[in-house]
Amino acid sequence: MRVWLFLLGVLCASTIRPALADEVTVGITSTALPFVETAPDGRLTGGFNVELARLLCSRMGRICSLEKTSFPQLVTRVEEGTFQIGFANLLKTPEREQKMLFSTPIWRSTSSFVTRSGAPAIQPATARQKARICVVRKTAQEAYVAELPGPLNNMVPVSSHAEVFAGLTQGQCDAALLPTVHVLSFLASPDGVGYDYSGAPVQDPRLSGNVYIVVAKSRPELLEALNQAFADINRDGTYRALIARFFPFDIL
């Protein structure tokens, strides 16, 4: 009898294990609109990245568990593998390539300084010398600003875009360096009245270019499935429709 139970247990284990393997934990940074929308209770309700994650998981046939997190936390957990997929609008850097896998590009980004409207245009080379700049931690913008000459206090690292915008409106910083598209919702919001892009985006390859979904280093097969799913939605127009739903122009 015990033997039969043991065999049944082994059988159940062998049949259950694939189902567990299909469950994917997806980390999504709580960035500004239109990438993430959250309910008052903090629950993810929508947004470009959320919809994209759900769409890709559906196309992959995976059961995804979406989990909101901060950008630094997301980078750490993807490196650890506790997040198998991460949506954080990451640019590719050599350091990050050592720690995680990058999908095919999902859109293209630039980075721009945001200041109050009418303020003198910020020159990137002297930006940190003349203004306090808010940036999100562990982002390419933080790395860029950190290398700029200027007082250390003039770089104000925060955890999220919301904190960056709050820093601007509350006077903690004179300018912010953010992905250009991320700022659109802020500028269109009542809080963003009186703020504007400060000139053209920063011309630095570290701050512009393709944006990727990241995958845990230990899940290359997941990356392959993810790329295939993205190719599918890109080819059948689903992705362009998704873009049109959240952005005023084609961000690809």
């Binding site: 293209r108 980004s109 630039t110 721009s112 250009t180 598209v181 700022v183 659109l184 500028l187 269109a188 009245v193 504007d196 892009y197 053209a200 985006p201 512009s208 270019g209 005023p248 122009f249 084609d250 961000i251 690809l252």
Partner: protein
């Protein structure tokens, strides 16, 4: 067919292999070209996917974003609500610097310029908004808004132009890519057509080669096989172009040859059977076929004739065998039945139906299957009665020869004169056993002969049927005895032999020696007598002549006649003595034989007889030149003189003598003939005339002493020749003698 080494034919397999390789290479080349073409097409398609499509998509996105930029710009320049135109302006700025509008430098530059203008437009809208907010001058605000709108409007054209350019670029990209794909397709099509043509060409060449090197030869071989099967003449096969066909043709040729040989063998067998049947029926040899127990199954006519039979019913071969031959026959038959021999041959006697005996040379052969006992016998019998009789006669003659008292032997001239046969008398003659004699050669028993001489003797014997020589033999004990050997040439079975007949001439020599001594004594006596008689005879004649001269007148006629008779007798006696002296001197006073001219001798003889010739009116003729011979010139002059003198003397009465001299060569001798037209000699006197003092006529009829021809005979015999006369009475005479040629 004999192999033709030198001829190395190409291999069909190799040719096909070469064609296959060529075809494979072409196919591979074609496939390679197609693959390359496909790869190029794939590359083009891939390029289209990786380059063209992204470029087009890029341009589509850019075109769409330009469209949005136009819209945002228009909203920014014309919207009433500041919230709207500010958000549009912000969005337009984000859009203007988005990478989707920066992939092309010219595009990026113009878009940035448009954005700069848009910034001016927004600035004017902010001024107008400030004017309205301050309620200072609404009309002024409207003017500023109009300025902003006017400032923006041309930018739409710029952006529209950019859209057109992007569309043109996309179209150009598509056209370029499509042209490239079209070229690749065209090249692919051309390559495919060329490959198809080459493949067709190779296939055609292969078909032609297969037809020429395989199908046609195979059809020819098939036709040859059908002809061979039908027994028809097979036309000559074309020269094989490949080794395989050559092998096939060789095999068919061997098969054809085998069938041809089989047919020939069948024909030959049939012909042989017919010949055997003919031989069996027409053979002079008696042929009989019996079963295993000797019961006659079949016999030919010769067999019936040989034994005087009418048929062979219930006839057993054993019953025909002579009783004396049956044991030996039975012994051989048993050996044959046991398989020890397959055939035997023996001379045996058969009993004919009339009881007479016939000797046959019988050959009996067993017919058996493998090692089984004989089930039939074939007997061939040839009547050898004549041969047996001859053999018996030969045996009888052999007995006679063997028992002859005269030694007879035979030597092999080609084996140095080795004695190969000797009768008992020969063994007795030499005192040596036959076995030893048969190992000896002529020099072993003739001390005068060495090996070279023996060879010469053999050659002489072979050149002459019979050769007689005197020699000596060494007999047992070393005694040398004189012998006369008569050697004759024989031939047996194609091999020459010399038979010798030995005659012991010791007694004859002793007798000849006695005769020679007697002759010498007689000759000495004759010489002495004639010489010593001449003196008293001359004295008697002289004194008689003196008596006649001195006392003749005193005597009467009778007395004078008596004296005359006495003188005449003395003179005749003197002549007789001189002739006798001359006769005796022929051997004792003769000169050595030398080469002499017979014509000169004849002339000298004629000169000596000139008076008689003139007196008688004789004519002597000969045909010059007369030969040169070996002889004593003086004696030969005397010989010719005697013969010519006799021809003149014994001429026919009233007829002048006509004497003709001629010579004819026979071997080593010349035969000289002296023919006349004289009185002739009766045949009964042909021998007598050569005897001394023999006269055919009375003393008064013809002068002479009757010794002339005797002298002639003696002279000729001294020269080793012979003399004889051919004559009939009253019909002239021909004296012939032989002299050895010079």
């Amino acid at each position: 067919m004999p192999p033709i080494p030198p001829l190395r034919l190409p291999s069909l397999q190799r040719r096909l292999l070469a064609f296959a390789i060529a075809l494979a290479m072409v196919v591979l080349a074609a496939l390679g070209a197609l693959l390359l073409s496909g790869a190029a097409t794939h590359t083009a398609i891939q390029d289209s996917r990786t380059e063209t499509v992204p470029h087009i998509l890029e341009r589509q996105r850019a075109t769409a974003n330009l469209e949005r930029l136009i819209r945002f710009g228009w909203i920014a320049a014309t919207a009433e609500d500041p919230k709207d135109w500010r958000q549009a302006a912000v969005t337009a700025q984000a859009l203007a610097f988005h990478p989707s509008l920066a992939f092309d430098e010219e595009l990026r530059r113009q878009v940035v310029q448009v954005h700069a203008t848009l910034r001016q437009v927004v600035s004017l809208r902010e001024q107008a908004q400030d004017l309205r907010a301050s309620r200072q001058d609404a009309r002024r605000a409207a003017i500023v808004d109009d300025q902003a709108k006017s400032l923006w409007t041309p930018q739409e054209s710029v952006l529209a132009n950019l859209q057109g350019r992007l569309a043109d670029d996309a179209a150009a990209l598509i056209v370029t890519r499509m042209d490239r794909i079209a070229r690749i397709s065209d090249l692919t099509l051309r390559a495919a057509v060329a490959a198809a043509l080459i493949i067709l060409l190779i296939a055609g060449a292969t078909a032609w080669m297969v037809g020429r090197n395989l199908l046609r030869p195979v059809v020819g071989l098939a036709q040859a096989m059908r002809n061979t099967q039908a027994g028809q003449e097979t036309p000559p096969l074309p020269l094989a172009a490949t080794a395989e066909i050559a092998v096939l043709q060789d095999a068919v040729g061997q098969l054809h040859d085998a069938l041809h040989r089989a047919n020939l063998r069948e024909h030959a067998l049939r012909a042989s059977e017919q010949r055997l049947a003919s031989i069996f029926s027409a053979s002079e040899a008696a042929i009989v076929l019996t079963d295993s127990i000797g019961q006659v199954m079949q016999a030919n006519d010769s067999f019936l004739r040989l034994l005087g039979l009418k048929d062979t019913l219930d006839l057993k071969l054993d019953s025909l065998t002579h009783p004396d031959d049956r044991p030996r026959t039975a012994e051989l038959a048993q050996a044959m039945a046991r398989g020890e021999i397959d055939r035997y041959r023996m001379d045996k006697r058969l009993i004919r139906s009339d009881g007479s005996v016939v000797w046959v040379d019988a050959t009996i052969r067993a017919i058996r299957d493998g090692d089984a006992p004989p089930h039939q016998y074939v007997a061939v019998a040839i009547d050898i009665s004549d041969r047996v009789r001859v053999e018996k006669e030969l045996l009888f003659i052999r007995s006679l020869v063997d028992q002859s008292a005269d030694p007879i032997y035979c030597v092999d001239p080609l084996d140095g004169g080795r004695m190969v046969w000797a009768n008992a008398a020969t063994c007795q003659h030499f005192g040596i056993p036959e076995s030893q004699l048969l190992t000896m050669r002529i020099p072993d028993w003739d001390p005068r002969v060495d090996m070279q001489t023996a060879q010469n003797m053999m050659q002489t014997a072979l050149n002459n049927d019979t050769h007689v020589l005197e020699t000596v033999h060494r007999v047992a004990g070393g005694e040398i005895i004189p012998v006369e050997v008569s050697a004759s040439t024989l031939e047996h079975d194609g091999h020459p032999y010399v038979a010798g007949y030995i005659r012991d001439i010791r007694d004859r020599n002793r007798m000849l020696e006695a005769v020679r001594r007697s002759n010498d004594d007689l000759q000495q006596f004759a010489y002495v007598a004639s010489h010593d008689l001449q003196e008293p005879l001359r004295m008697v004649a002289s004194f008689l002549q003196l008596l006649e001269r001195r006392y003749g007148p005193m005597l009467d006629d009778d007395g004078r006649e008596y004296i005359h008779f006495a003188v005449d007798g003395a003179i005749r006696m003197k002549q007789l003595i001189e002739d006798l002296l001359a006769f005796s001197r022929i051997d004792s006073r003769g000169a050595p034989l030398a080469k002499v001219d017979l014509e000169q001798i004849t002339r000298e003889s004629c000169d000596n007889l000139a008076a008689a010739i003139q007196e008688s009116g004789a004519t002597i003729t000969w045909k010059s030149p007369l030969p040169r011979v070996m002889g004593d010139e003086g004696q030969l002059v005397r010989l010719m003189q005697n013969l010519l003198g006799n021809a003149i003397k014994y001429r026919s009465p009233g007829t002048a003598a006509e004497i003709t001299i001629s010579a004819l060569r026979r071997g080593e001798f010349w035969t000289v003939a002296v023919a006349d037209n004289g009185i002739g000699i009766a045949p009964e006197y042909h021998e007598r005339i050569f005897m001394i003092f023999q006269r055919l006529h009375g003393i008064g009829a013809y002068e002479g002493t009757g010794i002339g021809l005797a002298i002639c005979k003696r002279i000729v015999e001294r020269h080793g020749g012979e003399i004889w006369v051919e004559s009939q009475e009253n019909n002239g005479s021909v004296f012939k003698f032989t002299l050895k040629a010079a």
